[in-house]
């Protein structure tokens, strides 16, 4: 298998193969959505319009990046939205108690990373438990702690400069978009250009084989989950900067959105397959679709249906191709 891959790599650049990739299909969908949006509303297709639109959905995009790693590992983490809520609440409460804002932010980020670390350690120590179940229980616990801290109140009144994170511009580009691009490049390099990233792919394909070939699988898994927790708190950072206050129920349901974006990006939940680029494109597809249909007052519920159907179609198409292909091979 490995030999074959090397042979393929030395082959000449194959134009057909290059264009017959999941990412190109996503680009196609992305273009269709933009054409549709600009037909729907004359105000849509302008630089500032799209830039503003990107700010409405970029907060959860930060969580998509590490989620790609987790799903390539063949795991899943559904506690992320609760981690976001917990670190948002801690950030806001410690600030209101008199901690300077930079320290409060640092504390929030630490809390997020610790939440992720707890998830990672539990998953590594109890290998017989699926990640889904472990994170299901920590999901309830993390949000529970957020409720204990803040009950049904909101905390806020952040300093002026803090709202710059969520609302500010660098020139004409939103600060959030720049932050996202930086993070996306970092995570993309980590996944595709480092030993760490290759190990993640390997572990998604066969974790036992990886362990026997000397990869520290446990360590990598814990690191990936810690990164996930950290990025969940980065989401919190931008989210509460935009909303201006933190409540224990912020970010409810984000985990499903994030997983949907990753899966639409062509990353298989079976593990070991998919690329960062696909996930990044699908963030913009779902985000701009939501924004564009919002412009012409399509109800939010209709959007849920559309996104659900897109998700189903996206994961069904490759399966159909694959099965008919296999049948031919056998015959």
């Amino acid at each position: 298998m490995e030999n074959k891959r090397i042979v393929e790599n030395t082959k000449k650049f194959n134009l057909k193969q290059f264009f017959f990739q999941w990412e190109w299909m996503l680009v196609g969908v992305f273009i269709i959505i933009n054409i549709m949006n600009s037909n729907l509303s004359p105000y849509y297709l302008s630089f500032t319009g799209i830039m503003d639109a990107s700010m409405t959905f970029l907060d959860k995009a930060f969580m998509v990046l590490p989620m790609v790693f987790i799903i390539i590992l063949g795991d899943i983490d559904i506690s992320i939205a609760s981690t976001t809520a917990l670190s948002a609440v801690i950030m806001a409460v410690t600030f209101n108690m008199g901690l300077p804002m930079p320290l409060a932010i640092l504390l929030g980020l630490t809390v997020g990373a610790v939440c992720g670390l707890i998830n990672g350690l539990l998953i590594v120590k109890f290998k017989e438990l699926p990640a889904m179940i472990v994170t299901l229980s920590t999901m309830i616990i993390f949000r529970g702690i957020a409720y204990i801290i803040l009950e049904d109140q909101a905390a806020g009144k952040f300093p002026e400069w803090y709202s710059y994170l969520g609302w500010g511009y660098v020139g004409t580009v939103p600060f959030m978009l720049i932050a996202f691009i930086v993070f996306a490049i970092l995570f993309g390099l980590l996944l595709h250009k480092t030993t760490f990233g290759r190990s993640v792919y390997g572990m998604g394909n066969n974790i036992t084989a990886c362990r026997y070939s000397g990869i520290k699988t446990d360590k990598i898994k814990v690191i990936v989950f810690t990164l996930m927790g950290f990025m969940a708190s980065v989401t919190a950072l931008f989210l509460i900067s935009r909303t201006g206050s933190a409540r224990p129920n912020v970010a409810t349901g984000y985990e499903m959105d994030v997983i949907a974006m990753v899966v639409l990006g062509g990353i298989s939940t079976l593990g070991g397959k998919g690329r960062m680029l696909g996930a990044v494109i699908s963030i913009f597809i779902i985000g701009l679709l939501r924004y564009g249909l919002g412009l012409i007052n399509v109800p939010a519920q209709m959007l849920m249906i559309i996104i659900g159907i897109i998700l189903i179609i996206a994961v069904t198409i490759p399966n159909i191709n694959l099965s008919s292909f296999k049948k031919k091979k056998i015959a």
């Binding site: 109890f126 993390f142 349901g253 899966v263 399966n319």
Partner: protein
């Protein structure tokens, strides 16, 4: 292994008894007839759903769409009833079950025929059903005064002196206990969950089994939807959002393995009961409602970690015995 699984259920039961004793000590009204009736009524819907979820988990699948299916079928039944008040409650239940069955069938079809991963298929359909729920009602609620008394009577009435909800739950448990343990199809569910390949080789139609499991899950959530709407006397767009996770938690507490192939109806009953007691008792002993989430989560986490630990010990002992 058999001893251990018994030990597990006993352990949970002992835990429940200790918990009950503690709560009773703190608040003597806990073990009164009314409160127990209340507790069981509140747990009935959860335990009905848990049976269906157990079958799905047995096949190593998962169904995240049940909260939305519940809402959609409850909403449909409520809309029909509010437009035709003369309709019999039984017809309303049948409508709910029919809607649920169709919903479950679609998820099952995607999973079994197209090989979409259960978590993704149900995640997508969850969005679709939730959207449909909002669309069908136009975002409005169907509230108590729009429902005829006969419909609300489903949840408040009683059969043979037992509240209807509890009665239905008991009937469902008896039927499915028989179905899962003593029919060929029931045993095939375990076979598919333990090892799909060997199940297929031994002549089991795995696709059909998968389809059946999800359809049954849908039907049960349809039933639960009607009961839910009748119990709370209101149908809303966001009914039972996130309820699927409670149901999965009840299954996991009851010792159902999420990796498939392992789980028992009796364990399930204990798990659902424990979750029900936690929900009911924490307010009774003056625990702040804001603490309930965290406490529940911790108990679930401890239960599954204990479960894993006990199982590990058992395997080790078995291996040692084999050596000697």
């Amino acid at each position: 292994m058999r001893n251990i699984s018994k030990f597990r259920e006993m352990g949970l039961l002992v835990f429940i008894v200790i918990l009950c004793a503690f709560i009773q000590f703190k608040n003597p009204s806990f073990l009164s007839f009314e409160n127990i009736n209340d507790l069981l009524t509140n747990t009935a819907i959860l335990s009905i759903l848990a049976v269906g979820m157990m079958m799905v988990l047995l096949t190593a699948g998962i169904d995240l769409s049940i909260g939305s299916t519940l809402a959609l079928s409850g909403m449909t039944a409520a809309l029909v009833v509010s437009n035709n008040p003369e309709i019999s409650p039984i017809v309303a239940i049948l409508i709910g079950v029919a809607v649920g069955t169709v919903c479950g069938f679609i998820v099952g079809f995607l999973v079994s025929m197209f090989g979409v991963f259960p978590i993704i298929a149900s995640l997508g359909m969850m969005n679709v059903y939730r959207g449909l729920t909002f669309m069908s009602s136009g975002g409005k609620w169907v509230s108590a005064h729009q429902m005829p008394d006969s419909f609300k009577g489903i949840a408040t009435g009683s059969i043979l002196g037992i509240n209807t909800l509890i009665f239905i739950a008991i009937v469902i448990y008896i039927i499915f206990y028989y179905f899962i343990n003593y029919t060929r199809t029931g045993r095939q569910i375990y076979a598919v969950g333990s090892n799909v390949a060997s199940a297929k080789i031994s002549g089991i139609n795995t696709k059909k089994t998968l389809l059946l499991v999800y359809t049954l899950m849908g039907a049960l959530s349809g039933l639960a939807g009607v009961l839910w709407v009748s119990k709370f006397a209101s149908a809303q767009g966001d009914t039972a959002t996130g309820y699927e996770l409670s149901v999965i938690a009840a299954c996991v507490l009851g010792g159902v393995s999420v990796a498939g192939g392992y789980g028992k109806v009796s364990g399930l009953l204990v798990g659902a009961l424990l979750l029900g007691i936690l929900n009911n008792a924490l307010p009774l002993i003056n625990v702040s409602p804001f603490w309930q989430n965290a406490i529940q989560g911790c108990i679930i986490l401890v239960a599954i970690l204990m479960n894993a630990y006990v199982k590990r010990r058992a395997t080790k002992e078995n291996l040692m015995r084999r050596k000697i």
